[in-house]
């Protein structure tokens, strides 16, 4: 089976948020909730500066902390590596929200269930790319099977220099991988007011 993941090239990303807006529209994400967002951080002193534009979303972790804490089994992992929510089983207790180190989940108040990025599984099922990947005008995103050595994502990772993930210390083994972080020290972990 596949092992689906996402690659984001931070040297290409300009933080335009096309991905975040496409996600909002495609998935009718309610006002006040975000499946995908952009963090912007400046580093340095005039005139020696860098800026990191970093999109974040659910990382569809290989070791997802949101799954074992779920009391009803609504939070589950698929064979091809997606972490999903079964809305009908979810009781909106909020345990998964507390467990996620990435702030990736929210409660859909109208529906009464937890929700988050699904890697647009409904599109992937039809052979399409997730909405964020399809719309990105800077070619910053690649989505695909990490276990297929001939996939674009695998080949790009093979040739890539520095690779980073968020909070590697948490042991979650995220599958959203960042390339070319602008700072030599890797991803900026602090977050600037946006």
């Amino acid at each position: 089976m596949a092992r689906l993941g996402m690659l984001i090239d931070l040297s290409a990303c300009v933080g335009c948020a096309a991905c975040a807006v496409a996600c909002k529209m495609e998935n009718q994400v309610p006002a006040g909730a975000n499946r995908l967002w952009i963090r912007e951080r400046e580093v340095g002193v005039f005139p020696d500066l860098t800026v990191e534009f970093r999109p974040e979303q659910c990382n569809h972790c290989e070791n997802p902390p949101c799954v074992p804490v779920c009391p009803t089994g609504a939070s589950y992992q698929t064979q091809d590596g997606l972490v999903q929510v079964d809305y009908n089983k979810c009781i909106a207790c909020g345990a998964c929200i507390a467990a996620c180190p990435y702030d990736a989940r929210y409660i859909d108040k109208k529906g009464g269930y937890a929700d988050k990025c699904t890697f647009c599984s409904h599109r992937v099922a039809k052979g399409q790319q997730p909405a964020c990947v399809e719309t990105c005008p800077t070619y910053a995103r690649i989505f695909g099977d990490l276990d297929d050595p001939n996939s674009e994502i695998s080949k790009t990772l093979e040739a890539a220099g520095r690779q980073d993930v968020l909070r590697p210390d948490m042991g979650t083994r995220p599958k959203v991988i960042y390339l070319n972080a602008p700072s030599k020290k890797g991803l900026t972990q602090e977050v600037m007011e946006s």
Partner: protein
């Protein structure tokens, strides 16, 4: 009792279903999640995005009366399958509850701006307008009505209708408030336009120098894509900007130039290329005139001299020039778009084009390609009394004479270029000189967020006898009109074709996704119905818009139905000099037939034939120069009521250098008032304390500071740069209004008491 009937509904012949009031009961038993739109019956139509002026070809996914998603498609040379955030969010405007819904007529005797209206039928509203127009024509002449506008429907209201009516006072803000300097300079140098889709061969270029060009914050879709491609292909990037823009964050070199000194830098680069013999000799020899005069002229403009002006080290200036030359002809300085900066902008653009020519890149890979318009015949009509002339900038070879019996445009003589300058048409509404302008159509243009000197615009509006606004949202200026005509949004209408001059010229079609909501009408319908009432019926010989579009399509061997299944028709272009030479043709429509480094035509008209340097107006003590630009999630002043985009960014902020902030006592989270040199105050606006800007300037994104309570989300957020631009410097060659000679000081302000956008959206928004 006997009841009078109103018929809003009628009994349909459809079968009456089972009378069980399934409604509520069915709902409580169904699964938690409402079925997603993409599981329902989705119809798709080809459309053209209207959320900025790039106008990408898109596909709209419709379920019933609602468009849920739009996407690019690969076959369209603009979107190429991708879409920017404004495009993705644009459908939310169609379902905005604040949208204009019905024609409105201002209550007689009420004050303009007081907002007292009554609802009217279209017939009533159009009859009212027609009567007033004919009265003004009788009393003052057809030229007494001005037509301002911008947007895909502007073809009807700013090009066609005024030309048929007989008014030369038709203007688009995209000319004198945006592109005029680069267009006029290009006409006088290359004898060609730049055009709306900048003709830069990004994928093949190896060295890019951006001057005041903030790609990445400016998210013109294709340009952003191709810029990214260029970088992926190893192109080097130099960014010249007083601010560390997003583009600067991607650059190999950032030159934090002193604002207003760019021409000095360009002249110094020309100096290095010439003095070190680095320019493309063969190209200059074959394709240009005036090199000898340029060589003599450039002598004083050394890098050392330029360092004094620009605060960029001479050594850096030299290095960049040499790097450019190393990569020529695949080294390019793109012309950017909004070029009305300091009032001497045509000359700055001349310097930029001269430099590009010395690099030998015009008409060659990695530089400027030669854009051609697509072939498409107009719908045959009787000849129009006037030439539609509001949109472009003609060059030295164009004729500038009015036909017999028609007055010249009211701003003629104020500047050289043969086009209208929208901000110069306001004065006649107040003074009556050179002749009175008593009527105004504003189609889509935002009068108070585009034209500088807002108090003057308001005074002008008060003097008018007829002011008609055609728009989709209750913007502040719309609620001053005598008649408000609500246009259907882009997703609900056909429009004329959008034709794009390009490497591969193309034609795009817009097809309505569903019927217009409320009592709104497409622009073409409004124009035709109005035309019928003001004696212009003969110019609208087509019966339906489908007939109009179908007839035009037949001139290229297709028909409307086929075009509806294609969305875009791509034709062959002639992008390279070699393409022209093989056919024995010359692309340079200048008097000499060559690229004019030295412009005899400018000299004859009394202007510098070669660019000279003029230092900028100094920044007054205690003030900062007000710089402005774009946000990737907003377009001008049109998106601040879009709930999706406002969730991304609900306000602008003022970028202030961190040292200056410390000196003034601003801390993170503080708000400020911006007060300009004339005492105009804007804000409160949040202060963005940053290292990313020089100490002599502040920066805000354009389009906020709305004063329109009818726009629930937009009203009262942030600061308006337009309101602060009470002064402008007229560029006497192009007619452009230089907007960057406005200065502001900052004062502490209390945090504004505004409901969060999310709260407002949840309370009463679609």
């Amino acid at each position: 009792m006997k009841l009078p009937r109103r018929s809003f509904l009628k009994l349909s012949a459809a079968t009456v279903g089972a009378v069980s009031l399934g409604g509520a009961a069915t709902l409580t038993s169904r699964a938690k999640a409402a079925p997603a739109w993409y599981t329902k019956e989705v119809k798709q139509v080809f459309q053209i995005c209207e959320n900025c002026f790039w106008r990408c070809g898109i596909r709209a996914s419709v379920v019933g009366n609602r468009v849920y998603k739009v996407d690019g498609y690969k076959e369209n040379p603009k979107s190429r399958g991708m879409l920017c955030p404004r495009g993705q969010a644009a459908p939310a405007q169609t379902y905005d509850p604040d949208r204009l819904k019905k024609p409105l007529i201002r209550i007689e005797g009420s004050e303009r701006g007081a907002g007292k209206y009554r609802e009217a039928t279209w017939e009533e509203a159009l009859d009212y307008i027609a009567k007033k127009m004919l009265g003004l024509k009788e009393q003052y002449g057809p030229e007494s009505i001005a037509f301002f506008g911008h947007g895909t429907g502007d073809g009807w209201f700013v090009d066609f209708l005024p030309a048929a009516w007989g008014s030369p006072n038709a203007a688009k803000p995209s000319v004198s408030l945006c592109t005029a300097p680069r267009e006029v300079a290009a006409q006088y140098t290359f004898g060609r336009a730049i055009g709306g889709h900048e003709p830069i061969d990004w994928p093949n270029t190896k060295y890019i120098v951006l001057i005041g060009h903030h790609i990445g914050e400016d998210t013109h879709n294709t340009q952003l894509q191709e810029f990214s491609e260029a970088r992926k292909n190893g192109a080097k990037l130099v960014v010249v900007d007083p601010r560390f823009s997003t583009a600067a964050a991607k650059a190999d070199r950032w030159l934090p130039i002193k604002p207003g000194t760019d021409t000095a830098l360009l002249l110094a680069w020309i100096h290095v290329l010439i003095s070190e013999n680095l320019y493309d000799k063969a190209y200059v020899e074959k394709y240009t005139v005036g090199m000898d005069k340029l060589v003599a002229h450039i002598k004083p403009y050394t890098p050392e001299w330029a360092e004094q002006q620009t605060e960029i080290p001479a050594q850096v200036i030299r290095e960049v020039a040499r790097e450019m030359a190393q990569h020529k002809p695949k080294a390019v300085l793109p012309p950017t778009r909004h070029t009305v900066w300091y009032g001497n902008d045509t000359q700055r653009m001349r310097a930029s084009y001269i430099l590009n020519a010395l690099l030998g890149n015009y008409g060659r890979e990695g530089g400027f390609y030669i854009a051609m318009p697509p072939y498409l015949e107009k719908y045959p009509t009787p000849p129009l009394p006037l030439e539609p002339a509001a949109g472009g900038c003609a060059g030295p070879t164009a004729v500038d004479k009015e036909p017999e019996g028609y007055k010249p445009r009211a701003d003629k003589g104020k500047f050289l270029a043969k086009t209208t300058a929208i901000q110069e048409l306001i004065e006649p509404m107040i003074t009556g000189q050179p002749y009175p302008i008593k009527g105004l159509f504003a189609y889509g243009i935002n009068l108070f967020h585009a034209i500088p000197n807002v108090p003057r615009t308001k005074e002008a509006l008060k003097n008018l006898e007829l002011y008609v606004a055609i728009d989709v949202l209750p913007q502040e200026h719309v609620m001053w009109a005598d008649v408000i005509l609500p246009e259907a949004t882009y997703l609900e209408r056909y429009d004329d074709f959008v034709t794009v001059s390009h490497k591969t010229p193309f034609i795009q079609l817009r097809v309505p996704a569903h019927e217009p909501l409320y009592d709104t009408k497409p622009g073409w319908w409004i124009a035709k119905e109005l035309g019928k009432r003001i004696g212009l019926e003969q110019y609208f010989p087509w019966q339906t818009i489908e007939e109009y579009l179908d007839t035009r399509m037949q001139s290229v061997g297709l028909d409307l139905e086929t075009m509806k299944s294609m969305g875009t028709m791509v034709q062959n272009g002639k992008p390279w000099l070699s393409d022209w030479e093989k056919e024995g043709q010359n692309p340079f429509n200048t008097p000499s037939g060559k690229i004019e480094l030295y412009s005899e035509s400018l000299a004859k008209a009394g202007f510098d034939p070669l660019p000279k340097y003029e230092p900028p107006q100094p920044v007054p003590e205690g003030y900062y120069r007000l710089l402005y630009g774009r946000s990737p999630v907003h377009t001008f002043a049109r998106t601040q009521n879009n709930p999706v985009l406002m969730e991304m960014e609900s306000s602008n902020s003022v970028w202030l250098n961190a040292e200056e902030a410390a000196r003034l006592g601003f801390k993170p989270g503080d708000y400020a008032y911006l007060i300009n040199q004339d005492g105009v105050r804007e804000g409160p606006v949040r202060v963005k304390i940053t290292q990313r800007i020089r100490k002599d300037a502040v920066y805000i994104t354009h389009g906020f500071g709305h004063k329109a309570k009818g726009m629930t989300l937009a009203d009262g957020r942030g600061a308006s740069d337009s309101y602060l631009q009470t002064r402008y410097t007229l560029d006497r060659i192009s007619g452009g209004a230089g907007l960057r000679n406005n200065f502001v000081k900052l004062e502490k302000a209390p945090a504004p008491k505004l409901k969060s956008v999310v709260k407002l959206i949840k309370e009463r928004r679609a």
